[in-house]
Symmetry: C2
């Protein structure tokens, strides 16, 4: 994989140019894209021209190439949201996050495959670790391209589990920040109360570097020294839906963290969090039926069965249901703060299993609660199952404490590597 | 003015058709649009064709014509956001709220003039009560068109005071609901934490009818009987910036409400609300510098001086400033809940004065705190200054208690009328 932080440092040191990194990407794309199919649009010649800009090296992203999920508007690439309804759609402006990436000196190399309107219908992208399996969704191309070494940084988004789950399946680091830490203007929305932009990169230090460079916030964790985190093991209400292999991965991660000096204990699960888990679907469905009103009312036949059927059913969710789900959310956020009272972060699976077959993007059951809570989540790779497929575990931090979550994730990533 | 509720009832009764109402609009447009200049785009022939759909009469909006601020995407009208940067921009989809209006049986008659990117640079629209004066902004055309009798319902948005302030200047009812009660997907964003869609109509019962029809929520107040509201008079931290005429209007409104049986008392102002008032600018500026990154980085010269200069300065607002402002906001919401403990609603000016001259859209100082708090606000017209210009007063409700705010506003509107 391409390590964003290391590449940036080599550019800083004058050992490498932005054009060299575009060439590294081009070489990997040449080797892997035909089977992985991560790109919805790609313009290497344009990237090579942009990479000649000598001013890039002094900007935070140092001219590194970035891939952007194809639900973010881009002024120089079509933006089709993974659906034929928007075939050839060419935005007049960049999404805010895309503009911030360019402002920070990133080169947008291409658009990454998304599932249809960022929902559950499988995309054409394959898992680089086993092309007979799913890379997950909806940020399929964003996760797969990093895993295949084709890009050092990609952008995705999560409404249920669309950042953390594909990162788990593809064995890369990913960061779903606190709700709206990364701006969402210019993203095709699905459920605005939930839609959260996120980032993918090879390792936790890489994704933290990217987040810091794009936001200007103090989020880097590569130079940090900090006390081992106090970790709450959270099997959650869906623990029995995790495979034995994933259950074993969580235990192994907890053991590695303890060995490295962390305190890992397991507080009693708060039932209100289970109620919030169920509230997620109500919030998502109610909002999607309104947010996608244009597509549903005008292009119903062009929607996939899985999305069309969801919206059919969503029409029956009432405002009272929605308001009650929002109240449950509010109370659950308080319960979560209490649950985490003595802890820095939670540790929980990123997905119920390793990557499934190609007919599904997998369930978001280990993600949707945290999306609803708005808390920072980081996928930590490093554990594989018996067949060599990645099993990701997830660090969940407190709302607004994104750097603490990234620090704990780096700690865990190193602890897992050391335990091998 | 065209009274939406009365028109809908006459359509229900078979006394009027949707086509007849389009004709009423066309007649008023013919008489007033040349001097008021409220429309950014207009298609009467298309509306007349749509009005022939016999199914409209059974849908919640009964085929009533609606005007939409030109920062909402529309698939059948250009959407130019009030700036030459987006000249000829033609969206591929309707904004969610536009799609919901069509779903509810509304006919989108045209797009209403907005100030440049919904900020403060004056638009070409004139105040129908005195065309030498401003209609306010940024929802200039939305307010002016209702006031001029050209449309029964219009849509606007408020980030500082862009719904309530122009309604006050133009003497119409307006409803800025609780944050995100009306969906914001497909609106050109300015500061996502603040951007709130709202509605304009002739009277409170009309705007409540429109809100109920579009959302499917129980928001109508025309049939309701309820106890007189308990009103907290809120002069706020900017009272001394209100003109004597506006101060007199608030006192007159309070007196009318008391005469009609309401309890009106004045609790001590919470200083934390003053802190939140100042936090609004930090939140708005920090977000706008990121939300408008594409326009600022690529089209700086095409921005008006007032917007360009604001964004220049906004570059200096730090993430720490922003995070502190968000924390202040959170605490102020709790303080506001306590301030309102014994009250149903607040009563406060909608603007510091009657409509100013054409060189400004007027200050949002009586609005921005409530936008930041996310609370429902209703402009109540009915009081004029000595020269006959409208002076609006504002009912502010609790977050999520939108119907209570509309009920209190209807009560006040009737009390003011009765006191004349």
């Amino acid at each position: 994989m391409l390590h964003a932080l290391d590449l940036a440092r080599r550019i800083e040191a004058g050992e490498l140019s932005a054009a060299d990194v575009v060439d590294l990407c081009a070489k990997a794309i040449d080797a892997r894209e035909e089977e992985v199919r991560a790109f919805a649009a790609l313009d290497l010649p344009h990237a090579k021209v942009k990479a000649q800009d000598a001013g890039l090296a002094s900007r935070p992203l140092r001219g590194l190439p970035v891939g952007v999920k194809d639900i973010f508007d881009t002024v120089d690439f079509p933006t089709e949201f993974g659906t034929p309804i928007y075939k050839g759609n060419q935005p007049r402006a960049d999404a805010a996050l895309v503009a911030l990436i360019r402002r920070a000196g990133g080169i947008v190399l291409g658009k990454m495959v998304t599932t249809e309107l960022a929902f559950l219908n499988p995309s054409r992208t394959h898992n680089p670790h086993d092309v007979s399996r799913s890379p997950g969704g909806s940020s399929a191309g964003s996760a797969a391209s990093v895993a295949a070494g084709m890009l050092p940084i990609t952008v995705g988004s999560q409404t249920g589990g669309s950042v953390i789950r594909p990162a788990s399946y593809c064995g890369v680091a990913a960061f779903k920040p606190s709700y709206r830490l990364l701006p969402t203007a210019g993203i095709k929305p699905f459920a605005v109360y939930l839609d959260t932009a996120g980032l993918f990169a090879a390792r936790v230090v890489d994704v933290a570097f990217a987040a810091a460079a794009i936001t200007g916030r103090d989020l880097r964790v590569d130079q940090a020294t900090s006390a081992p985190p106090r970790i709450a093991l959270a099997r959650t209400n869906v623990w029995d839906q995790a495979t034995p292999a994933m259950q074993g991965a969580l235990e192994a991660a907890a053991k590695a963290a303890r060995t490295a000096g962390a305190r890992v204990t397991e507080p009693a699960w708060a039932e209100l969090l289970t109620a919030a888990f169920h509230a997620h679907a109500i919030v998502q469905d109610y909002e999607a039926y309104r947010t996608l009103a244009y597509e549903y009312d005008n292009h119903r036949a062009a929607l996939s069965p899985i999305l069309g059927t969801m919206l059919d059913k969503a029409a029956a969710v009432t405002a009272d249901d929605y308001d009650a789900a929002r109240r449950t959310t509010k109370r659950a956020r308080q319960a979560l703060a209490e649950f985490m009272g003595d802890f820095d972060v939670l540790l929980t699976p990123s997905a119920p299993s390793a990557a499934p077959g190609p007919d599904t993007t997998g369930p978001a059951i280990f993600n949707r609660l945290w999306t609803l809570m708005g808390t920072p989540c980081v996928n930590v790779a490093g554990i594989d199952d018996a067949s060599g497929m990645p099993l990701g575990v997830q660090i969940v931090g407190r709302f607004g404490r994104d750097r603490e979550a990234l620090l704990a994730a780096r700690f865990l990533e190193e602890a897992i590597a050391a335990a091998k």
